[in-house]
């Protein structure tokens, strides 16, 4: 059945067909839904994705390994550092390269900063979709400080291109750690508390999110959800802890899990709250990483021309949107034979398709925001 048939069927039936997107204020980026609705109640919301398909996986097949890192930035524009990290992890696994400790710590610092920035947008834009504009800009304000820090670190505010195969591109600049500490001091618990008072505990928000689009644990695993969305459903699974990479084994942190904070387990409010709790854990990780940061090289001795042996590897990191994996197949040449990018938003979008039935139109917006969809990550 193609799209035309869906349109004809709905038009001929008793349902209203709403075309939500690709230009719609709450479909962040360009996502389109064909919403079959009876009044305000949705019977099905069919996602039409691909508006941002740039063929990154195809590009990878004609790019040298080192030259592909800037492209990974474009996979997820809100959390580009993780894409960098996952890709270089995949290549390093293939090369069997040992990364210096300092580089690993720098990667974790960059990752966790990026996670806070990404979650700030997620919770802020969720509040915005529910109608409160101010929390979004408060989130943006704090994210701006992180952007300034990453700009100090690697020169980019959105597309970082910070990591290299075997390390990172640059060491910390002067005064970076002091500014980062200053940020952490205001962020946790100051900002998080204030944000919770501003919107997180707000009764209207709770009423809008609690019991909306509840995803149970079994269902979440079945639909392949990952990251905060999965954890909100009560599955304690975090790649940082369970399939450790980088220097996470050295660091201490908790994995926040949804437990039906104000409604039922796995509802939209749980997804909102898990992200807020994760930001605080990220701040904790950052504090430890600053404390333990070792001296040494930031770059392993990688060959100038990277030519991994034939083989396969899967480099996965816990991105802000869950398991972000780069499945790399090399035939021994200068370019990969195949690169598959497995992203969290892709499976979250599928979950949205499944869970949209029975929602109201306003709930679809909440579901979409709470699953923290980033369009380029779906389309790649």
């Amino acid at each position: 059945m193609n799209l035309q048939d869906i349109i004809v069927e709905a038009e001929g039936g008793q349902q209203m067909l709403l075309n939500m997107g690709p230009q719609h204020p709450s479909t962040h980026g360009v996502i389109r839904f064909l919403v079959k609705a009876d009044g305000e109640v949705i019977s099905e919301a069919i996602p039409v994705v691909g508006y941002l398909h740039r063929g990154i996986e195809k590009i990878a097949e004609s790019m040298p390994y080192a030259g592909f890192i800037p492209f990974t930035d474009r996979v997820d524009y809100l959390a580009a550092m993780f894409c960098n990290h996952a890709f270089v992890t995949a290549v390093e696994k293939l090369l069997g390269l040992e990364v210096p400790r300092r580089a690993e710590y720098l990667r974790v610092i960059a990752d966790e900063m990026n996670r806070i920035a990404s979650h700030l947008i997620a919770v802020g834009s969720m509040a915005m979709d529910i109608g409160a504009y101010t929390p979004f800009l408060h989130g943006i304000r704090e994210r701006e400080i992180i952007n300034d820090l990453t700009e100090m670190l690697c020169g980019g505010r959105l597309t970082y291109n910070y990591m290299r195969i075997g390390g990172v591109s640059r060491d910390l600049p002067d005064g970076f750690l002091k500014r980062l500490k200053g940020f952490l001091d205001r962020f946790d618990p100051g900002f998080i508390n204030e944000f919770n008072r501003l919107i997180g505990g707000n009764e209207i928000l709770v009423r809008r999110c609690a019991h909306v689009a509840t995803i149970g644990a079994d269902e979440a695993m079945d639909m392949g959800l990952a990251g905060p969305n999965l954890r909100a459903s009560g599955v304690s699974w975090d790649l940082r802890r369970d399939m450790p990479y980088s220097c996470y084994p050295d660091l201490e942190f908790d994995v926040p899990v949804g437990r039906g904070f104000r409604g039922s387990l796995g509802d939209s409010y749980d997804r909102f709250m898990v992200r807020i709790l994760e930001m605080s854990q990220s701040a904790r990780l950052l504090r430890q990483a600053i404390e333990k940061l070792p001296d040494g090289d930031i770059q392993a001795k990688a060959p100038r021309k990277i030519k991994p042996p034939a083989g396969e590897s899967y480099g996965a990191v816990e991105s802000a949107r869950g398991e972000l994996g780069f499945y790399l197949v090399s035939d021994g040449g200068e370019t990969p034979l195949r690169l598959k990018i497995r992203t969290g938003s892709f499976s979250a979008m599928w979950a949205i398709h499944r869970k949209s039935a029975g929602c109201m139109l306003a709930d679809l917006v909440v579901l979409l925001a709470s699953a923290d969809i980033v369009a380029p990550e779906i389309d790649r």
């Binding site: 709450s26 101010t134 900002f191 809008r208 917006v365």
Partner: protein, 401 residues
């Protein structure tokens, strides 16, 4: 205004036969003044709201056009004038073109009964409150027309939401006004203001526990009537693109927005007149206020100040709260507001009878409620102090940036 027509005739020594013409002339002038006031208020408020919102969001806001950007609304207006007045191809053209006017008329017509001071009022109708509720119902018609005629599903949803919401909230709105009407014994706005006193404990809001509840009921319902956050579902940006006015542009769009911001003042003025003592000056009898131009001016300033406080609270709420879902909105109206309103009317009658018998009770209740209001204010202040102490950013009092 008839008083002024009379005075003018005596002053100009016009024969009695021309009374009706002079009256028409005076009304015409008054209408112009009121409309200009409303327009200016709507314009300046649109700028003011943006500045306030900006500061709440740690931004600066529009500050380029004129001193501190105060002329920004003029620029926006001129822009809307110059834009093409688009009508969608499949739209119902006459209805589409007509729709902004009922909205506009519905809001502007409230100025007939809205007083400015003791004697400056369009017409002190003895059914003033009924007139207010009736005339603002025109807005629903306009919004529904706009939503329907645009022939877009988003606007239709916005229009239908709006119709459901506004029709429902008319009821708690009217009920909460009735709660006040019971002790005051009048439907005229001026009559209500005269019934109250200048001092807070003489205001109707603190008159009885029921009026205190009715105040919140009325304020919330008025927000819902005026499509303000947290009840801005008809134009919920993140859900319905822009609701009923999605397809509008240029001047017709301007009319909708004009009406929306003028409505801010209307809500503020009604709340002030009915609950917050209107133009009454503490310690001055209303008869004295009606005579002296100076006291009239002071009364007007007080009235405007109180209205502005209410307007500020509305703006403040808008930039703080998220919005409700349509079923929650309906539930709130029919399951909470309407029953509470009805019970309040009955209790209000009983209480009025009781107070007539024991006047001291009324005085004690007023003081008690005033203290309760103060406690709510104190709770807010305490929370604000906590907000300052829990976040490292220091207070900063330079407002002109």
């Amino acid at each position: 205004m008839n008083v002024y027509a009379q005075t003018l005739m005596e002053w100009l020594k016009v024969p009695e036969a021309y009374l009706v013409y002079v009256r028409i002339g005076v009304f015409f002038v008054y209408a112009l003044v009121a409309l200009t006031f409303g327009a200016l208020f709507a314009g300046v408020t649109s700028w003011y709201e943006r500045r306030v919102a900006a500061r709440m969001q740690s931004r600066i806001g529009p500050n380029r056009v004129g001193p501190q950007g105060i002329l920004q609304w003029l620029c926006d207006g001129v822009k809307c004038f110059l834009k093409e007045d688009l009508v969608p191809k499949e739209a119902d053209r006459p209805l589409f073109r007509l729709a902004p006017y009922p909205v506009f008329i519905g809001i502007v017509s409230t100025f007939v009964v809205l007083p400015f001071s003791a004697t400056v009022v369009g017409s002190d109708l003895n059914v003033g409150l009924v007139y207010l509720i009736a005339i603002t119902a025109l807005v629903v018609a306009g919004i529904l027309m706009a939503g329907w005629s645009s022939n877009s599903k988003w606007t239709l949803l916005g229009g239908v939401r709006s119709a459901a919401q506004m029709v429902s909230y008319e009821i708690p709105l009217a009920l909460s006004l009735l709660v006040v009407v019971v002790p005051a014994g009048t439907l005229s706005l001026q009559g209500l203001i005269r019934f109250q006193g200048g001092a807070p404990w003489n205001w109707l809001v603190f008159q009885s526990p029921m009026t205190f509840v009715a105040f919140f009921l009325f304020f919330t319902s008025a927000l819902a009537e005026g499509n303000r956050t947290p009840f801005d579902l008809p134009e919920a940006e993140s859900e319905l693109v822009a609701g009923y006015n999605t397809e509008y542009s240029g001047l017709r769009f301007l009319f909708f927005f004009f009406a929306e911001w003028m409505n801010l003042y209307v809500i503020g003025a009604i709340v002030t007149a009915v609950f917050l003592g209107g133009w009454r000056i503490p310690g001055v009898a209303w008869q004295r206020q009606a005579g002296s131009p100076l006291l009239e001016l002071v009364g007007f300033a007080l009235y405007l100040a109180k209205s502005l406080v209410v307007v500020n609270v509305i703006i403040w709420l808008r930039w703080t709260l998220p919005r409700l879902r349509i079923d929650q909105l309906m539930k709130m109206c029919w399951k909470y507001f309407v029953p509470i309103g009805m019970v309040s009317i009955v209790l209000s009658m009983l209480f009025t009878a009781l107070v007539t018998a024991v006047p001291l009770l009324g005085r004690i209740t007023s003081i008690g409620l005033l203290v309760l209001g103060g406690l709510i204010g104190a709770a807010l202040l305490r929370r604000t102090a906590y907000a300052f102490s829990s976040f490292p950013d220091k207070p900063y009092f330079k407002w002109m940036v």
